[in-house]
Symmetry: C2
Subunit: 352 residues, 2 copies
């Protein structure tokens, strides 16, 4: 098969980890007889520096006409101190999500047995955790009308959801639950928010179409607790944009494997794959960043966007082998020999 993949390396360690994912994907293509054409494009602080815009139109054209997008990380400290600055890398991210219609962010949290001791949680709490958040990504308070009145003394942000927006996200949740343990948790704050009541009633009405799925409804504050207490009691969770932002980040640190967690953002036409970690500016250019989350994002891309599970498995097997053999970057080396970003990428590519 032939694929065009938009390549958005971004800022900080983004380019370094993306290079390894390209190398590993090319090895997969070679082994399985596919042809990948990479389409690099600017994004983030790198794009602001080059063309004054974090998500330039040209980048959008490239993404929209590709079969998938592979994304590194964005964010640069020079934009960190003033969140009201007129142009910021994050705005590019939000614009990209909206323009590409990436309404469902898929964030798995799972454990690697060899990394359990990295978790801040006690082993018996974290063992066996394997959950997936589906976070709504193009609606809610992120995109509602916002502004000031009373000469700047009053600020407002509007949170808006339509039934159709909830339905398309929930549908993905039910479908995902059907491929897993058939348990779905709808996270909301229906005891306070009208948007949450819309979420809840919409999901309740869909239950009859998926009679095998057991649905539970939990308030966001209760989920924030139980994620720390009994993360392995969850399977598939669906939620709105802002709750998803907070809870997926909370979930990401409990596993001890944060440096390895991939993610996908899916729309009707195209999907984007990226590691959940940030641009880690302090590590830029040092060849120390862990490329595994980005490499595993490429695995998700083969599996989800191209429907090629064998190819994805080849990548996951290589990562497991590297972990078993200790071919890891310093964040996982535990005092043993640490390998460079590039060396880990080489090992993974060689083991496809």
């Amino acid at each position: 098969m032939k694929f065009n993949i938009a390549l958005l390396a971004g800022d900080g360690i983004g380019p370094e980890v993306i290079d390894q994912a390209v190398k590993v994907s090319d090895a997969v293509a070679k082994k399985f007889g596919h042809e990948i054409t990479w389409k690099p494009a600017l994004t983030g602080a790198a794009a602001i520096d080059a063309v004054g815009e974090p998500y330039p139109d040209e980048t959008h054209e490239i993404c929209a006409s590709s079969d998938a997008v592979l994304f590194g990380a964005i964010g640069h400290p020079k934009y960190d101190n003033d969140p009201s600055a007129p142009v910021r890398p994050e705005q590019g991210l939000l614009k990209m999500r909206k323009k590409l219609g990436l309404f469902a962010n898929v964030r798995p949290t799972f454990t690697f047995p060899s990394l359990l001791d990295k978790s801040p949680l006690k082993q018996e709490r974290i063992e066996g955790t394997d959950l997936v958040f589906l976070r709504e990504l193009t609606g809610g308070i992120y995109f509602g009308e916002k502004g000031r009145r009373d000469e700047g003394e009053t600020a407002y942000d509007n949170c808006v959801y339509t039934r159709a927006e909830v339905q398309r996200l929930a549908k993905k949740g039910f479908e995902l639950a059907m491929t897993r343990s058939k348990k779905l948790c709808c996270v909301d704050k229906a005891n306070v928010l009208e948007t949450s009541r819309l979420w809840r009633e919409t999901v309740q009405a869909m239950e009859k179409d998926y009679p095998e799925v057991e649905v539970s409804y939990e308030f966001v504050d209760a989920v924030a607790m139980r994620l720390v207490q009994w993360p392995n009691s969850y399977d598939v969770l669906i939620t709105e944009n802002l709750f998803g932002d907070i809870l997926t980040d909370e979930a990401s640190v409990i596993s001890g494997s944060m440096g390895l967690m991939p993610s996908a953002s899916m729309g009707a036409d195209i999907a984007l794959f990226e590691p959940i970690h940030g641009s880690y500016p302090q590590a830029t250019g040092l060849n120390i960043a862990n490329p595994m989350a980005t490499v595993l994002s490429a695995a998700m891309m083969f599996e989800t966007a191209f429907n090629l599970p064998e190819e994805g498995k080849a990548i996951r097997d290589a990562v497991n082998k590297a972990l078993a053999e200790g071919i890891v970057t310093e964040d996982l080396a535990d005092g043993d020999k640490a390998y460079g970003t590039k060396e880990v990428g080489d090992y993974l590519a060689a083991n496809i």
Copy 2:
């Protein structure tokens, strides 16, 4: 001194744990020569059952004319399944906060050395944790305009903050920080929300009035992570209503001492004290609920509302003694002998 204290026992285990706090407070009053008049009033599901309203006007009159409010817990399973039911206990809670002007919810999270092993976190992560959240409690998306349009197909919730609302909450945060380690963290989502930008700029402008306080600004998603990773890196945190709801609950489970955590909600004229745990309906009437969080809430009341630190300390010392001697309810008994709610209360009162 003479005090009138409104007593809102509420639902579930509320009445049982409140009884113990009354007993212990009366012992304190006797020892230190104070006179307490308790003013019981209806609230929660109990009030709905009795008068059709979760926060009746009569209850409000009693609260507003007292020197402090001591609160148990509210919530009953019969109201849990339908969050859009016309009358719900939670509405009483929100109405009470608003009508009493309780704009600052003070939620400490600290550890008891003897309970560290109850924490889901590894001991080295949780040791030494001693932080306080100040959650804004009468503004934001909880109280903004909400509703439906498009024949119910679209729902909205408005989040609104004024500079004055941020200032009065932040002022409490700066003042609290001055009495502790002079570290203040402002939690927001200023990279996305206009209300958060107002929060940030308001707090930034106040920094010059508290030159000794070191202020940091962190995004809510980052705080959700670091609370699990390094909770002891925080001291005083200030945040808006919804973020506070989520993060204070997350923080409450990390210590392992959730059953012991008190809280206060303060306004200009009056303050309310309550345990952070819920109404625990399954345990109602069984004499097994842990009364210590409510008793420690009474300690906070003496310290904060009445400015009587010695009286508060007498209560804390009694609780520490009970913990050391193993005079605890089943949640803390660890296979050893468990005492009843009432027996723990008796022990605490006898040891004032």
